[in-house]
Symmetry: C2
Subunit: 362 residues, 2 copies
């Protein structure tokens, strides 16, 4: 009996959740209505992906996921750096990012907003306005959900998106030789957290950097246009967002695909604001870029011959990405340093134990 | 400025939510993908219904809603009457009931389960097993969601269902002359709450009644088969579940449809277990049947000529319903007592102010 055991989340995922949901994908009978209407689960909880996927009647896949965001991670709210409008905005970004990571175009968001007795109408309205603003920015209307009282502010949501059949992007599918790409440099959210928590926030970091750091939490951007472009290209072999940190994302794609990934230090972009914070605080910049920084970039893999055509297509839409590494056959995730040495990936992975990558979002 | 105002939920719905979402239905452009694939919001948050509805490519409507359930209402858990397995089961029933009330067949559930540090693996597993059991009972697989830590147990979910176009049941649409029907008698959940909270639980109520009362909270049944049968009949003019209590449901259908409803005391069923508790505690039975009892029955309206054909169709599936009243043109909701007198509906409405019926689930 495990009635005295308190496992961490990765262990609960692997010990409880994986066992409970084994065989769901492929083992769940389709729902069939009169008139040929049907829905079939093609990516279930056992797939350990950002979202579940249903194949629906007609030329369509439905992508759905949930994220709860108000928890111990919101230190910046407790510190007064973020307000309730920002939390509403963040809730939407986190949820829409999961849909974007599957290559789906968002169609709607359900928000759960429970508030404490001492929250005024004004502040409640600010939460809802933040949600609405983010929904407008990401083209994902807030179509319903639940409001009501609770002991404290509780924010959770579900996002829905659609894809053409076969376009949905999964964590599995990366092949040896594929190029590993990133929509935009990571590390801002992690650097911002370190900076604002350090209480050494006076005039050391220039104002433009501070604004950039602040924006990573106040107005995080779900990569919707990028995700849709990746899906429509039909050349992407795997994709995941970096909401658990870049290291965890790379390990998860590698584990899900049964491959390894080598990242090259020389190709890893470090933003000036991140470099400034790390220098100021004496923190290793690559650990911040790779570690538990909760950014919402997309990591994806592409066959080498398709990288430049994809970049050209991105360019026509005013989008860009960078290449940071290669998929390998050896199932190791390593960093190839500029001096020629190799190590495991630096930085701590958020939430997932090193030997259990993959955030099963059950 | 309303920075000193702390409104209740109905006021926030009418003052904040309704204004924020005005015009969403009909005013939201459809999402269109290459290859004719599209999704159009046909019932948004402004519609104040149990769920939002999207019209998708192919012969299909998608119905989605969210319910948070772990709140002050779970006194029976705090009292030890319900365990964590029961809470998991309840979470699913509450969410699937909203989909059933729209006449949709459930296709999947996203569950959010956040647990305190002191919750053991065993107890966490029990929550998940309760969710899985209910999902199996309602034919609605748990396809994903979110798990992780929090200060206390937090349970929320979203349910998805599909319908053929035009089959979706709404709160609005009841017409004067329609018969008001109910899938099964209400009041059990309310009577159970009164009974177990009274601490007068010894041998006064017979054991069979106690089991029935307990089951109303431990194994609440979402009326999935009934909802689908109502939708497929294409004769139902409005529908809603009774999760806010029968009185609130009747007022909401009347308000949404711009009609009145007269309920007849002689037709209102009172279950033996409810009658026994009310007699024991000196509580008015009709107040319990009509009031804030959180049952998951369906109230629906049907033209009089269609009642018997619908009952016959229900009979072929082993289902039944009862008729409790009539839709009127006068916009009043009244109870017609057996002695010929008329009053407003007895019992307190849960959550919604009397002049603001309609639970907008934003």
């Amino acid at each position: 009996m495990n009635d005295e055991i308190f496992s961490d989340e990765p262990t609960r995922l692997s010990e409880t959740i994986v066992k409970l949901f084994a065989g769901q994908t492929g083992g769940t009978p389709p729902v069939v209505l009169a008139g040929e209407s049907r829905a079939e689960l093609t990516v279930g909880a056992d797939a350990q992906d950002d979202c579940a996927v249903f194949r629906l009647t007609g030329d369509q896949e439905l992508v759905v996921g949930s994220d709860y965001v108000r928890g111990p991670k919101f230190r910046l709210y407790e510190m007064g750096v973020l307000d309730e409008y920002d939390l509403g905005y963040y809730l939407v970004a986190a949820n829409v990012s999961d849909v974007a990571a599957m290559g789906a175009r968002p169609i709607g968001l359900l928000s759960v907003v429970r508030y404490p007795r001492e929250m005024t109408d004004f502040v409640f309205g600010r939460v809802m306005e933040g949600i609405r603003a983010a929904c407008a920015d990401f083209g994902c209307p807030n179509v319903g959900g639940d409001i009501g009282g609770a002991e404290r502010l509780i924010l959770s949501a579900s996002a829905l998106g659609i894809c053409r059949p076969g376009d949905t992007l999964l964590r599995r599918g990366a092949c040896p030789g594929d190029v590993v790409c990133l929509t935009s440099p990571t590390g801002l959210a992690g650097a911002a957290m370190e900076y604002f928590r350090s209480r050494r926030v006076d005039d050391v970091i220039e104002a433009a950097h501070r604004d950039t750091l602040m924006a990573s939490w106040k107005r995080p951007q779900a990569r919707v246009r990028e995700g849709v472009a990746l899906a429509e290209s039909r050349v992407v072999t795997s994709c995941q967002d970096t909401s658990d940190g870049l290291k965890a994302t790379l390990e998860s794609i590698a584990w899900s695909s049964g491959v390894g990934i080598t990242v090259y230090e020389r190709d890893l972009p470090v933003l000036p604001a991140v470099a400034a914070v790390c220098e100021h605080l004496g923190v290793n910049a690559l650990s911040t870029v790779m570690g538990d920084s909760v950014d919402f970039e997309l990591v994806f893999t592409v066959p080498p011959s398709q990288v430049e055509p994809l970049r050209a297509e991105f360019g026509t839409q005013g989008l860009d990405f960078c290449s940071i590494g290669l998929v390998t056959a050896d199932q190791e995730t390593t960093l190839h340093w500029a001096d020629g040495s190799r190590t495991s990936l630096p930085g701590k992975a958020w939430r997932h134990a090193p030997d259990r990558p993959g955030g099963l979002r059950v």
